[in-house]
């Protein structure tokens, strides 16, 4: 029971981390709260379903198309919709909510309201410490670790990473220093949606797909990002594992399963009351109370 909970915590935590990272990245760089982030995740899962199940393509080309396609979709949405209203924070929130709703309805029209699933990339199970673990779980953990390392290298070592971090620090100074701010934001947005697509590729086989799943995922991801501190990458990763742990503790403690989300949210409220900026929040000068 406890071992199973630990495995679940690790798997869910890594998926949450990957999703929260994208949201945190685009908030940190552009001060944009992208409510459609998990909608991109759901869209990616359905693209994967379409190519593997309906067209019968192999796993590798389908995954490549999913990730690249979602990243391009994110860039297009940013360029034609979000960028136009970037100055009004409320308008950004609303336009991304509307975008998520539009994606959900398009998925309803395209795929119906059935529960769908995708074949795992590596089928079968193995026994670790007396727990039966599907191999896909191990793949998830390994892939998330790999993606996090690649992202860290990208942000710390490459020129693109430096420009992303400069824009996150101060867009005006970045502009003066010769960084192309709009293009950096566009790139960040496609990286963020690409991360959501990677998360979708990994969990599509182990979660059940249905169009409105973006809402519950969005709640969890927002909780994680707020708990860790908006814009903090370290905070998002740690927050993801805390939330996954809280979920599993509530589940195995035998309290009503309906209260899982309640306790998750309660954890966030407690953290916010104790530390108003989240665990590792960045507080900018003009945003301070």
């Amino acid at each position: 029971m406890v071992e199973l909970a630990i495995v679940q915590t690790l798997v869910n935590g890594s998926v949450y981390a990957l999703l929260a990272l994208g949201l945190s990245l685009i908030f940190g760089v552009g001060r944009l709260i992208n409510m459609a982030h998990t909608a991109f995740f759901v869209v990616a899962a359905y693209i994967l379903y379409y190519f593997t199940r309906q067209l019968g393509w192999g796993a590798i080309p389908s995954i490549a198309i999913t990730v690249v396609g979602t990243a391009i979709l994110g860039a297009l949405c940013y360029h034609f919709l979000i960028n136009r209203v970037r100055q009004h924070q409320q308008a950004v929130l609303l336009i991304t909510v509307a975008l998520a709703m539009a994606f959900q309805e398009l998925l309803y029209i395209g795929f119906g309201s059935f529960y769908l699933s995708v074949d795992p990339l590596i089928p079968g199970t193995m026994v670790i410490l007396g727990v039966i673990v599907p191999r896909q779980y191990l793949l998830v953990i390994a892939a998330v670790a790999a993606v996090l390392i690649i992202l860290w290298l990208l942000l710390s070592r490459t020129k693109l990473g430096i420009s992303i971090r400069t824009v996150a620090n101060d867009p005006e100074i970045a502009n003066v220093l010769g960084v192309n701010v709009p293009r950096t934001l566009l790139t960040t947005m496609s990286i963020a949606t690409g991360l959501a697509a990677v998360a979708a590729v990994l969990v599509a086989p182990i979660w059940i797909l249905y169009p409105p799943m973006w809402m519950h995922a969005l709640t969890i991801i927002l909780v994680i990002v707020v708990l860790g501190g908006l814009g903090s990458i370290k905070g998002s990763i740690i927050g993801a594992f805390i939330i996954a742990l809280v979920e599993q503790v509530v589940l195995i403690s035998g309290i009503s399963t309906h209260l899982v989300t309640t306790f998750v949210l309660l954890a966030m409220v407690v953290v916010l009351v104790v530390r108003p900026g989240g665990l590792f929040g960045i507080v900018l000068e003009e945003e301070r109370l």
Binding site: I95, V97, L99
Partner: protein, 346 residues
């Protein structure tokens, strides 16, 4: 008295197209049952009026003070469930339970405001987002009290007659909107709250430096928003005859924000226009083209945000009215000179 009213109408309302539209609109909704007493159309309008109260209360809380509340459904749901529980356990009638449910929503508003006082910006929004979802979990976990996923059903209608119901809701809506309009009127000589809410939104530190106890006024904003949203929730439960967990979903919280921003934030007429445009439109589309209604709603919201980001009502108002550069009086846009000081408007 009557003469003064007529004078006000002659010189204060008739020359300003926006006010004429507002007066004509209210006259129209008050005589509407004489034109058509189709039960379905009246029901749609009853829901529209309920959601007008809900949307305006969000605008007062979030638009005016800038405390962007993502969980306004909390107050709506507490109003609905409070009213329904009072009927279920004590057998009280709607005219008593709806105000008491709203008082419960006010109390909840003040309590939830407590942790929110420390926070700002996105943190505040995301904190408030969590409260209705927490209550949603509790409602599911206590099916013996709240009915779980089925809700509390069988609560009485406000009146057996649809027309009476329509008028009750319409009058409650008019009175609530009037109260909230007066409370947030920044130009008022007697009530300072409107001015102070604007000050808190624009610059809280400056507001505090001028000696305003901003914490009290934030609590007041939450209490006002909670009370009127609670009334809307209670009415909604009694019209539907059920208090269902749908009142507490994230969709409900976002829907109110969509209505307000679509109509025009920080204006009382904006939310009214937003709800009166979007809600009947969605209902109508559901009847005509079935399942595409939410897709069209989403596309419409995106288009409005791209081309008139200040909201549709404010956009139309800017087209119809122009402020005199000298005396700041509102004029019709087609006038060449100001109607009071005859300064050129171009």
């Amino acid at each position: 008295m009557l003469k003064r009213l007529l004078n006000n109408f002659r010189w204060g309302v008739l020359p300003v197209p926006g006010r004429v539209i507002a007066v004509v609109f209210f006259a129209f909704v008050f005589v509407f049952p004489l034109i058509s007493d189709d039960r379905y159309i009246l029901l749609v309008l009853i829901f529209t009026n309920i959601f007008v109260i809900f949307a305006v209360s969000w605008d007062v809380l979030s638009g005016y003070t800038g405390l962007v509340n993502f969980g306004h459904a909390l107050f709506f749901g507490v109003g609905a469930y409070g009213s329904a529980l009072l009927y279920k356990y004590l057998g009280w009638q709607p005219w008593l339970t709806i105000p008491l449910g709203a008082v419960a929503a006010t109390l909840i508003g003040v309590i939830t405001c407590w942790p929110a006082l420390k926070l700002r910006g996105p943190y505040l929004s995301l904190l408030t987002l969590s409260f209705p979802l927490m209550l949603y979990g509790v409602v599911y976990a206590l099916p013996s009290i709240t009915g779980g996923p089925y809700g509390i059903w069988g609560i009485p209608l406000i009146s057996e007659s649809r027309v009476v119901e329509y008028y009750v809701v319409l009058i409650v809506m008019t009175v609530s909107v009037l109260i909230m309009w007066k409370l947030t009127d920044a130009g008022s000589r007697y009530i300072r709250t409107g001015l102070i809410f604007h000050a808190i939104r624009e610059d809280e530190i400056a507001a505090r430096a001028t000696g305003i106890n901003t914490i009290n006024y934030k609590l007041l904003a939450f209490a006002i928003g909670g009370f009127f949203a609670g009334i809307a929730g209670g009415l909604y439960a009694h019209v539907q005859m059920i208090a269902a967990p749908e009142c507490l979903t994230m969709t409900m919280s976002f829907q109110v924000i969509i209505w307000v921003i679509f109509g025009g934030i920080v204006s009382i007429y904006g939310p009214v226009a937003g709800v009166y445009t979007l809600f009947p439109l969605v209902e109508f589309l559901r009847g005509v083209i079935g399942k595409y209604n939410y897709l069209i709603l989403a596309v419409l919201v995106i288009l409005v945000l791209l081309f008139m980001p200040q909201g549709i009502a404010v956009w139309i108002r800017d087209k119809l009215e122009r402020e005199c550069p000298r005396c700041k009086l509102t004029n019709a846009a087609w006038r060449k000179e100001c109607r009071a000081c005859s300064a050129s408007l171009h």
